[in-house]
Amino acid sequence: MALKSMNLVVLSLRIITAAAVITPLAVYYASSGSLAGFLFPKTEIQIPNLRFEIVSYDVSKSDGGYVLDLKLSNTGSVPFGIRNLEGEVSLVNHEFTGRFSLESPIILASGQQGSLRVILLPVQGDLKTFEDALSRDEVFNVTGRAIISLGDAELPFTFTAELKPSEVGERGGF
């Protein structure tokens, strides 16, 4: 009697184990329609489209420095923003160094436009030197760091660039 019940338990366990493996496979196979769709469906790595454009910009003088007003458009598929931005600008051929920082964080939903205000204050040299150099399309260095917001994520971003004013206009975004 004991041996009979033991054999029954063993058999039941084997049947339940087989059912636990076969049932999900059968259900998923039936719902996918074909063997190819079950084994190798057409899947794509869904990388969000990250893209923004500079719509317009305006530079004005304020409190001994500059205020750069950038109008941005998020042309990508995920929310984009800048939570923090700070750095330094210096001229390659003249003595001028300035510090820039973001006035307030900006987050743009997909398809949305908004303004970004960056304040530049001179640390070394005067603004006239900087203005003249820019008007002559002279090279300047920009270094800084930012915290970029993309979707639900935040990315610490550092950058160093040697640019010309004419190149800034040409870039217009990533």
Partner: protein, 215 residues
Amino acid sequence: MEAFRVVYLVSGLLFLAVALLGGAWWELVLGEPAKPVLYVGLSPFGIESKLFGSQAIETPPVLNALLLAFRALAILGASTIVIGAMLEGRPWSKKLLNLRPLTMSIGFAILVAATTMLLPRFLSTAIPQLAQLTPNLNEAFAPYSSGRLRINLYPLTRVNSSLDLAFKSQLTLNFWIASLSGALCLAGWVLTKKRARETLGEAKPVTEEQPPITS
């Protein structure tokens, strides 16, 4: 209750909790933990990958079916351990005790080690630019590591710019609970064998003495 049954009971309950609650056994977090850029969570019961907070890869049906089957087997294995440990008087109760928590934990650890070892090599071969973009990618894909991943954006932007992201890869609490369950299971199995040997040892002298009595 016999000692081995108590050990098996605790093991079964722990593994049942892990199998029912779900959650990753190994995870890789790239970026700030609260708002990660990339999150990859693996367990024998599920795969989760999020890029910028959205699901990045859809798992194929065959893999979903296998993961569901693993979950069903884990719940079944843990349930039978609990029932087997509790039904002391039944002669077939020992047949319900199994080592599934141990085999699943060890199997998962081997799989993670192999994946984290092979994936960077595969990615470097498939996308040769990756070595230029992320020179220390191998460090991030280790079973247990933390540090900072530098992504060089110059090849993409032509401006000397980089992303400096914190990364952390680790075996989670779920894995360690499953491993503890596996270790207890092994201890229960050892105790069962030891007890069986002792019973056999006690029984042998009696059977040797029996022939003279019966004859």
